[in-house]
């Protein structure tokens, strides 16, 4: 059976997830927005031919991965040194709205950790699938994701001290709030 659900549902349900993945992979800015647009445009185009039992989120995240690679390559090809930086309007609204600095913290992670976090924690792909698309062993990807998350938690939970043996960030924040 082919896909018969309205595509709008996919945008509503997975739009934020895909944008988180794009931002984690490419940084919060125009490149992430372009990757999001290319992902959903490609998805809309092939939507009627998709088997209806497809895991739509995982499928979109894999498309986003390919679009992010395209954009990275294109940026590398067109990166010509120039004295005049083109003014590029931000489509993000106010970039300074990232008050917690969480996207900056993601951008600051070493690449392997950043990608492992992007596809596993933001995109919901299992470690094994993340390893398939970014290379390396499942165990290495699992370790990179865990290291990345530990580093992120240090940043975005900075105001909320927690002990290392509390495994759940959500619990930490609840405790932090009640202190």
């Amino acid at each position: 059976m082919k896909m018969k659900r309205p595509f709008e549902q996919a945008v509503q349900r997975h739009g934020e997830t895909v944008l988180r993945v794009c931002r984690a992979v490419l940084g919060p800015g125009a490149d992430a927005d372009d990757a999001w647009s290319e992902t959903f445009l490609a998805a809309l185009t092939s939507w009627p031919n998709l088997p209806d039992d497809t895991n739509v989120q995982a499928w979109l995240v894999r498309v986003a991965h390919r679009k992010a690679i395209d954009i990275t390559r294109m940026r590398a090809r067109h990166a010509i040194p120039t004295e005049d930086l083109p003014e590029r309007p931000s489509t993000l609204g106010n970039p300074h709205a990232d008050e917690n600095g969480v996207w900056a913290a993601v951008a600051a992670l070493p690449e392997r950790q950043r990608l492992a976090v992007a596809y596993h924690y933001f995109g919901g792909l299992p470690h094994a699938e993340t390893a398939e698309i970014i290379g390396g062993s499942t165990d290495a990807v699992r370790r990179a994701a865990a290291d990345g998350i530990r580093s992120l938690r240090r940043t975005y939970s900075a105001d909320e001290p927690y002990s290392a043996d509390e495994p759940d960030p959500a619990d930490e924040r609840r405790e932090g709030a009640s202190r």
Binding site: R5, G15, E16, L44, N100, V102, A146, I149, Y156, D168
Partner: protein, 201 residues
């Protein structure tokens, strides 16, 4: 080991307008690329919220809220195409014309119609209905005669009840022979509102 189910992405905020901006950009690009099979939007009206949907050929669906917009979109996805996106621009003209109609300044609609959801005798009847002018009414029996099938009074009733383009294709102008309202997919209150609007104008 941190399990995925316990990782909370909430701190990784997406600004409220980020997705709506990207969505609008997607709709415009999909239209340019020719892959926006069905564009839709909702509008407010004196007969409640209306869903408007158009293919590249023309207006394909007008729906009342009581029909359940999610169900209406699902039916469009199944019967016409699942490439469905909320994309108001394609519906701008018909939305304006509906505003004018409800304001009493428009008596006929001038938009292309796509009868993709109609077929057979129902389509014959639905294509005939726009010939019943603003402020006029006909009986189910009259319509059956005009479309050349005088015995098909009940089938005319079914054609009106399944009209995919209510208001624009004026099935509300068809009444029982005794002048009583008959039925209406938007509810009898909506039918009365439309007939009153047309008689007052």
């Amino acid at each position: 080991m941190i399990d995925i189910t316990t990782f909370d992405v909430a701190p990784f905020t997406i600004e409220a307008d980020a997705i709506s901006d990207l969505h609008a950009r997607l709709a415009a690009r999909a239209e340019d690329r020719g892959v926006l099979d069905i564009a839709y939007r909702t509008i407010e009206s004196p007969v409640g919220p209306l869903l408007l949907a158009a293919t590249e050929k023309g207006l394909v669906r007008v729906a009342f809220e009581r029909e359940d917009f999610d169900a209406v979109l699902q039916a469009l996805a199944t019967k016409v195409s699942p490439r469905v996106l909320e994309a108001p621009r394609r519906l701008d003209v018909v939305a304006t014309e509906l505003d004018e109609y409800f304001a009493g300044t428009r008596r006929a609609f001038d938009v292309r119609l796509d009868y993709a959801l109609s077929s057979g005798f129902r389509e014959t009847v639905q294509r005939y209905l726009p010939r019943i002018g603003f402020g006029h009414t006909q009986s189910y029996r009259d319509v059956a005669e005009f479309v050349g099938n005088p015995k098909a009074v009940r089938a005319v009733g079914t054609a009106c009840a399944t009209n995919p383009l209510p208001i624009v294709v004026p099935c509300h102008r068809v009444l029982r022979t005794d002048g009583s309202l008959g039925g209406y997919l938007g509810g009898l209150d909506a039918k009365t509102t439309l007939l009153t609007l047309e008689n007052a104008a």
